[in-house]
Amino acid sequence: MLHTETLVYALLGLPLLASFGVLLLRQWPNLRDGQAVLIGLLTAACAITLFARGADGTSLTLLAMTPSLSISFTPEPLGLLFALVAGCLWPLATLYTIGYLRGAHEDNQTRFMFFYAIAIHAAMAIALSGNLLTLFVFYEILTFSTYPLVTHKGTEDARKAGRVYLGILVASSVVFLLFGVIGVWVIAGTLDFTAGGILAGKIDPIYVPLLLGLFAFGIGKAALMPLHRWLPAAMVAPTPVSALLHAVAVVKAGVFTVLKVVIYIFGLDFLSSTGASEWLIVVASFSILAASIVAMRKTNLKARLAYSTVSQLGYIVLGAALASPLAASGAALHIATHAAGKITLFFCAGAIYVAHHLNDIKDMDGLGRRMPITYGAFALGALSIIGVPPLGGAWSKFMLMGGALDGQHMLVLIVLMVSSLLNLVYLGEIVLRGFFAPAKAGSVAQGDYAEAPWACVVPLCVTALISIMLFFSVDFFILKFTG
């Protein structure tokens, strides 16, 4: 029987171990990548065990930086869910990465695998962080460790994208987020995540919306408009990076942080009683709709998916802003369901690129008949994002709607419905074109069955199945939050 403590150390340590393994075994690509997948599977096993066991109040202090600040880790339900998502998707993403990098003949594969593992380590640390300082430290490490991935190609475009990526994420975090963190430290005298929040009674309610704003816009990784530009900009990176950004770690770390701060720093009761998050509901709703509309206008597949992510992240921020237990549970569940759905979509986009070097949706007419497995998985992922049963996304949307009803936010209900329709339009188009549109003369869509390498196809099938599995075993993933 493993101690909870051991599992926490394992979750934090295994990705680091994998990163060193990558460096040590750089001469032998098969060994290098094989150990990364194995360690990934081990990490996933640990994450599942720990999630199934639940939080038991264990808290580890790794080191005390100053008399009142420490790096410490405290598993709690929300964090364990994020760790579960990151931990389970990591081995799949690694396998996919191997297929993609080799299929597309990318350079600097060792560097890529190294920083990928470091990013997972940072994500795990964010998930398990016991106080805001720890979260902030690893939030920054996640930003810096993903920068070499975003600029992997080293072209002028990649440099520009890297500048936007780093500029927005670092500037927002060191200006607003750190401001918020230190503000909380001064106001509450502590930074520990505590059930029910730590601010009630210590701050004049007038300032609560302002403080919430520092967090909402300081957490650039949540990609709330107008801080979303880094996400589409990062599309120049290889597709495995997009999977990492959109599903496994980066944006999920962002919305996770928003949820965690709302639940464990502000406290749901405190927020709903002061009405301090009303404005955030409006901003998040705007972000949901505006990003969907932009997505419809994009014909580059990855760009469209990127804006779809911006929109979907809005759901989670919205769930936090609604400040009701049901909406918060829905938002937490949406982290998992969106991750499974979106990683499928990106894996498919990457598979299409590796097999046929296509990026533009207009060139993909009829391609579904050549890549039926990829397009089938894409359809499942898309349906989950849209929120159609029997796929996981249906539940999280359902719970968010319930949360909106609880709080008498009828407009929010309409926003959610309209957004689902928009999702249907811009994701459905890709599937329909793939399967039913006649292939244009001279396009690669003419020809025989031609899928991407198996290392790309297997992961996308698995993630598509996870989306279905999420629908039927949703009980396991629903977290209960109180006040």
């Binding site: 930086m65 440099r159 500037a171 200006v175 750190l178």
Partner: protein, 494 residues
């Protein structure tokens, strides 16, 4: 022996300086300097442990003459923070000086170079340890005069070092003169130059105009010496045209010592109760500090010469120290001490790493480091870490600095100033990332000379990088030391 440590701290490098001038061999002059700075570092650590263990201050009476007739040397909670940083940086930079000086200075001048080098270190140590206001002036001149000479030695490679040194000399002398005018007024008013004695006697004549004038003159002189905006124009050319080793030593320590002297005189002598301090100085420092932070950062962003770039960044960082002092609370003063210490480490590391490049290419410019990330990875990584610390990225010393500075601002309800400080520190990302992109994301241009590095070249910079990260993770001793020092200046209460 142990009771003589306070004076040995100063006298060892001071006496060694003329002896080094007599050593004509190049290696032997360096070796002697290296040993002496090592001894000075050891002494400062011993002093640190003595003071922090006993919790009291050490007062050493020179020649056995009691104050106020004799001159005293005082080691207290504040000076034990500054002494190790001056001697420690001095030690590490001397280690690097071996190859930097060989590359940049004419061999005939090596002995003289190391003489001036030891003198400037001795002068700085004297300013920190002495308990006598006029003695401070004497040591200020010792360190400054030798520093002018050191800057001028850059002329062997770039003639522009001469006007830079001359400007530095003129402005430095103006600053020192202001200081001594203020001191003259104080002496006239009180009849004493001993710092403790001055503090006692000033209490009776606080409200006189002459006392205000004295304070203003002293503060202005020291503003010049610490390169506070807008009195910073001497700093950038002086640091950038000086030999690399000199840039590293001065950027890390010289202005810091002036900050320390300012704190010692303003808080330790005039005291927080003095109206000019509580109402005048604070506002001035906050205003000039935040403007300096922006001006320095923006100038650094457009700069293409690495030495100038980081010299401009020093202006910004001194601005943060000024803000910390200007808050006029123990927390603010502690934040200033913390940043003083941490910034010395990061800037030392940065200038040493730049020295590795400068020694090979003449001047380290954005162009000369294009694609350098693969040729000299250790050196460029040192610059990366130093830069991250300047931005204030977590797990570096810069993060701790920022954390405590902002906290002090918020505790005093200076929300807007806190916001501005955040913005200016985030802008630092722009100039740091410019370097990262050039070094790692651009290919080495055709025909650019190959750069190389050996462990002996990057080791000194890395020693300071490790210290920067170490103090970013294990910050407790520094923070409690700084708090203790700040409390001392606020009369023991918060």
């Amino acid at each position: 022996m142990m009771q003589h440590l306070p004076i040995l701290q100063v006298i060892v490098p001071l006496m060694a300086a003329p002896l080094v001038a007599l050593l004509r061999g190049r290696e032997i002059a360096w070796l002697a300097t290296f040993v002496v700075t090592g001894v000075a570092f050891a002494i400062s650590l011993l002093l640190y442990f003595q003071v922090s263990e006993s919790g009291t201050r050490l007062v050493y009476e020179l020649g056995g003459w009691a104050a106020p007739l004799g001159i005293t040397y005082v080691i207290d909670a504040a000076s034990v923070l500054v002494l190790p940083i001056v001697t420690g940086i001095g030690f590490v930079v001397t280690l690097a000086a071996r190859h930097l000086v060989t590359a940049e200075i004419d061999q005939r001048d090596h002995a003289l170079f190391f003489t001036a080098w030891l003198l400037t270190i001795a002068g700085m140590l004297g300013q920190v340890t002495t308990g006598d206001a006029f003695n401070i002036f004497v040591f200020l001149e010792i360190s400054s005069l030798s520093a002018y000479a050191l800057v001028a030695m850059g002329a062997g490679r770039d003639r522009r070092a001469l006007p830079a040194a001359f400007n530095y000399l003129i402005l430095g002398t103006v600053g020192a003169t202001f200081y001594v005018i203020g001191l003259g007024l104080l002496y006239m008013l009180t009849g004493t130059l001993n710092l403790d004695d001055l503090a006692v006697r000033l209490a009776d004549i606080e409200q006189t105009r002459a006392a205000y004038m004295a304070m203003a003159f002293i503060a202005l002189g020291l503003f010049l010496k610490m390169a506070l905006f807008p009195l910073h124009f001497w700093l950038v050319p002086a640091y950038s045209f000086a030999p690399s080793a000199v840039s590293a030593l001065m950027a890390a320590t010289a202005t810091k010592v002036s900050v320390y002297v300012l704190v010692r005189l303003m808080f330790g002598v005039f005291g927080i109760g003095f109206v000019g301090i509580s109402q005048g100085l604070g506002t001035v420092l906050l205003t000039l500090g935040i403007i300096g932070a922006f001006v320095g950062t923006l100038a650094a962003i457009i700069e293409t010469d690495l030495k100038k770039l980081f010299a401009q960044s020093s202006i910004a960082q001194l601005g943060y120290m000024a803000i910390g002092i200007g808050i006029m609370t123990p927390a603010g003063l502690a934040a200033a001490f913390i940043h003083l210490f941490n910034h010395a480490l990061m800037k030392g590391a940065l200038f040493l790493a730049i020295g590795v490049i400068g020694a090979q290419t003449g001047r380290a410019t954005m162009r000369s480091i294009e694609g350098a990330g693969r040729q000299i990875p250790m050196t460029m990584t040192a610059i990366l870490f130093g830069g991250l610390a300047l931005i204030g990225v977590p797990l570096t010393a810069g993060f701790i600095s920022k954390l405590y500075l902002i906290r002090a601002l918020l505790e005093s309800d200076l929300w807007i100033l806190a916001g501005l400080t955040f913005i200016s520190s985030a802008l630092a990302l722009a100039y740091v990332w410019k370097i990262v992109e050039a070094a790692w994301l651009k290919p080495r241009p055709e025909g650019a000379p190959d750069l190389h590095e050996t462990p002996i070249m990057w080791l000194p910079a890395w020693l300071l990088v490790v210290a920067t990260i170490g103090f970013g993770i294990f910050a407790s001793p520094l923070i409690s030391g700084a708090m203790q020092a700040a409390m001392m200046f606020f009369g023991g209460q918060s």
